[in-house]
């Protein structure tokens, strides 16, 4: 018989046979039998090692009166649809990789718009891993050089072995108005002198990578490959392909030290995790820093209503559920959001045509999108595909936008917007005081 100290699972073929045979007089007894017979009454290991299920024991009675077995796991656990068999594998299957003694270093300078890794940054780390892991006997380390305050702790998942976090401190020699691209360039030049990475990878993006990368190239005297979208390793060595002539041509050349890459240049890292070990430069005050000749006088207030919808960062969008239009416009002005609208609101004449979001309007890419009284037609959801965070204020808890929204508030839109405006005004008053 089964011994508790025995780690091998023992099976009793006779009891298994009885448990499968519903007509056997001992069938009920076998189903309720000892753990050695079955793990669950409805799941057991078949003779070939496959997991078998008893379809009579699982499932639930649907509204139609028919018995249904839900294999998607969408249905919650019920008495007849027990949760036993459909536990998602939560264990992290990714391999943890540490590189203690790297043969070389691939430096990545991500953009981190808003302090977080963008998908462009993740693609860039994927590219860096391709270069670092090209020779499995002599792996290189991927170094992430990041600046200022971070709201991101996923560098290990993104694929960084080392993390150099440089925080700019205002001092007499470095005023607070120093231009970021120039001070960062000084840090990168220090990294170059101290660690001399084999490759520098930067995103060719308008959020800063394009400018910083070109400044670095001019400083290091390296000719960069720009707008790179592919790197191949063939018999002539590493080659890269990038766009030239404002996107009209492809230029293929040997891979230089400095690469400015386009989005989707490589797959982001998914199968491995890395250590992102903190690193610091031995020179605390960089030598390469030159007193800034460019002064950053700060961001300029831009009228959000003038910003093109496709470019807007923060959109407050109205749909059929909005009754109080004056309150809506007031809320948009108080929050500093660009106004958008669903098709219904435009067709009904409450908003201009150029404010329409969705398949037949504008495809927006806002970081925060607040949908007020919008149920989420598929055409509208297409239009907000690339938004980061979606907030919905809605009366209907079952509509489609709730499934898309990161934060869904069920309630009256006018009241909530009024409360939001009051909250915002109170806050700005206390700031001013």
């Amino acid at each position: 018989m089964h011994n508790d100290n025995d780690s091998l699972p023992r099976r009793d073929p006779r009891w298994e046979w009885i448990a499968r045979n519903r007509l056997h007089p001992l069938h009920e007894e076998a189903l309720a039998g000892p753990a050695t017979v079955r793990l669950n009454a409805h799941v057991w290991q078949g003779p070939n090692g496959l997991t078998r299920r008893d379809p009579h024991q699982v499932g639930f009675i649907a509204a139609s009166g028919l018995k249904r077995i839900d294999r998607t796991g969408a249905q919650g656990a019920t008495e007849l649809n027990p949760p036993g068999g459909r536990k998602a594998a939560t264990a992290d299957a990714r391999q943890f990789v540490t590189i203690d003694d790297p043969a070389f270093i691939v430096a990545v300078v991500p953009d981190l718009p808003g302090g977080r890794l963008s998908s462009h940054d993740r693609d860039l780390f994927g590219l860096a891993r391709q270069l670092a892991d090209a020779d499995p006997d002599r792996p290189g380390a991927v170094l992430a050089v990041v600046f200022d305050e971070l709201r991101e702790d996923g560098f290990a998942d993104a694929g960084a072995d080392r993390l150099l976090h440089h925080v700019e401190r205002a001092s007499a020699s470095r005023p607070a108005t120093a231009y970021a691209a120039e001070t960062r360039l000084g840090v990168l030049a220090d990294v170059e002198r101290e660690l001399s990475p084999r490759h520098w990878l930067l995103p060719d993006s308008a959020t800063g990578g394009a400018e910083l990368g070109r400044r670095l190239a001019a400083r290091l005297g390296e000719r960069p490959a720009i707008q790179v979208w592919q790197i191949e390793n063939n018999d002539t060595g590493l080659r890269c392909t990038g766009r030239g002539a404002a996107g009209a041509t492809d230029i293929s050349r040997a891979l230089p030290r400095l690469v400015l890459a386009l989005p989707e240049c490589a797959e982001p890292v998914a199968r491995t995790r890395h250590e992102a070990r903190p690193l610091s430069l031995s020179l605390s005050e960089g030598l390469a820093y030159m007193p800034g000749r460019i002064q950053n006088l700060g961001a300029v207030a831009v009228d959000p209503a003038q910003v093109a919808l496709s470019e807007a960062e923060f959109i407050l969008s109205a749909g059929r559920g909005v009754r109080d239009w004056e309150g809506f416009h007031k809320a948009a002005a108080a929050l500093g959001a660009t106004e958008g609208a669903s098709r219904v609101a435009v067709d009904d004449g409450f908003m201009e045509r150029d404010r329409q979001v969705g398949a037949s309007g504008t495809w927006v890419s806002a970081r925060v999108y607040i949908a007020v009284g919008i149920s989420g037609a598929i055409q509208h959801l297409q239009g907000i595909q690339s938004c980061d965070k979606v907030v919905s204020i809605n009366l209907d808890p079952d509509c489609d936008i709730i499934k898309r929204a990161d934060l869904a508030v069920i309630g009256d839109a006018a009241e909530i917007l009024t409360a939001l405006v009051a909250l915002q005004q109170r806050e700005s008053k206390s700031h001013a005081a």
């Binding site: 998607t72 796991g73 594998a89 808003g114 308008a206 400018e211 070109r214 001019a218 000719r223 960069p224 720009i226 979208w229 030239g244 404002a246 009209a248 041509t249 492809d250 230029i251 293929s252 050349r253 040997a254 989707e264 797959e267 998914a270 000749r293 460019i294 002064q295 006088l297 700060g298 961001a299 300029v300 207030a301 831009v302 807007a312 960062e313 923060f314 929050l335 500093g336 959001a337 970081r367 925060v368 979606v390 907030v391 204020i393 808890p397 709730i402 499934k403 929204a405 934060l407 869904a408 508030v409 069920i410 309630g411 009256d412 009241e415 909530i416 009024t418 409360a419 939001l420 909250l423």
Partner: protein, 275 residues
């Protein structure tokens, strides 16, 4: 080379600006035209009060590209702009040394150009290399020059999402014009034909690194595939049948409007979109 502040104040009434122009390429027809961003840079130079822009082009100059270059002269109707200096170079020459020498001889206080060329490598490196070579500061992606006073330029830099940042830089400096800068004026035929192209014969240095490159018409980039790393049939089925971006959000029900507003405001603050 660094001009001191005093001499700048004296010469402020006639601020000398050099605008670097190139031959563009129409994105649909492929014909030579005035490059869009370079034309915006020239428009920006016109917008500076009391400025005398000088046009400078380095590169090969044949008939079609001469027509394109004359389009810049055609923008100068009603101004003093009537000539364009052409530094003749071979098609695959490195134009940086010639340009840097010419700029040193010309001695402008501000150099304006587009962010990227529309032909050739179009790496956008030229202004940076010139700045490094001349030792001047460079500001990029300028949407508007607000003022030039006592040798200090205050300009608005265009950022993504329609945002602007105010920068100030001491002259002499290089500034590149962004596509968000005001649209250039139309080019008139008369001034374009009347204007003079002044050819200056400088030696051209070959760009050797470019010899090994393979240049081909741009291929369509492969579309990224959704990679499914499923171990069992059920996971694969789930991945294939899954609606995109379903679930995962927080749903707040039966809240007072004030509590709901606070929850929304907390998210907005976390994202940093509230000012």
């Amino acid at each position: 080379m660094q001009l001191d502040a005093e001499s700048l104040t004296e010469s402020e009434s006639s601020l000398s600006i050099a605008v670097l122009v190139s031959v563009g390429r129409h994105p649909l027809t492929g014909r030579p035209r005035r490059a869009d961003q370079d034309a915006r840079a020239l428009e920006m130079a016109f917008s500076v009060a009391g400025a005398a822009p000088a046009l400078l082009h380095a590169g090969p100059c044949d008939d079609p590209s001469e027509d394109a270059l004359r389009c810049y002269l055609g923008m100068g109707g009603g101004t003093d702009l009537d000539s364009l200096i052409v530094l003749e170079q071979t098609a695959d020459a490195d134009i940086i040394p010639a340009l840097a020498d010419e700029l040193t001889a010309l001695g402008p206080q501000l150099v304006l150009c587009g962010t990227r060329a529309e032909t050739g490598e179009s790496s956008g490196m030229l202004p940076y290399l010139l700045a490094e070579r001349l030792g001047w500061p460079i500001i990029t992606g300028v949407a508007e020059i607000e003022s030039i006073h006592e040798g200090v330029v205050v300009a608005l830099q265009a950022l993504p999402r329609g945002q602007r940042r105010r920068l100030s830089v001491r002259l002499p400096a290089i500034a590149t014009a962004d596509s968000a800068a005001p649209a250039p004026r139309a080019s008139a035929y008369g001034p374009a034909m009347r204007g003079a192209l002044t050819f200056s014969n400088t030696g051209s240095a070959d760009d050797e690194a470019r010899q090994d490159w393979l240049v081909s018409p741009a291929r369509k980039r492969p579309k990224r595939l959704k990679i499914i790393t499923a171990t069992s049939a059920r996971e694969r089925f789930k991945a294939a049948a899954a609606k995109s971006q379903g679930g995962g959000g927080k749903v707040l029900k039966d809240l007072s409007p004030e509590a709901a507003a606070e929850a929304i405001q907390a998210l907005l603050k976390e994202e940093g979109v509230l000012r």
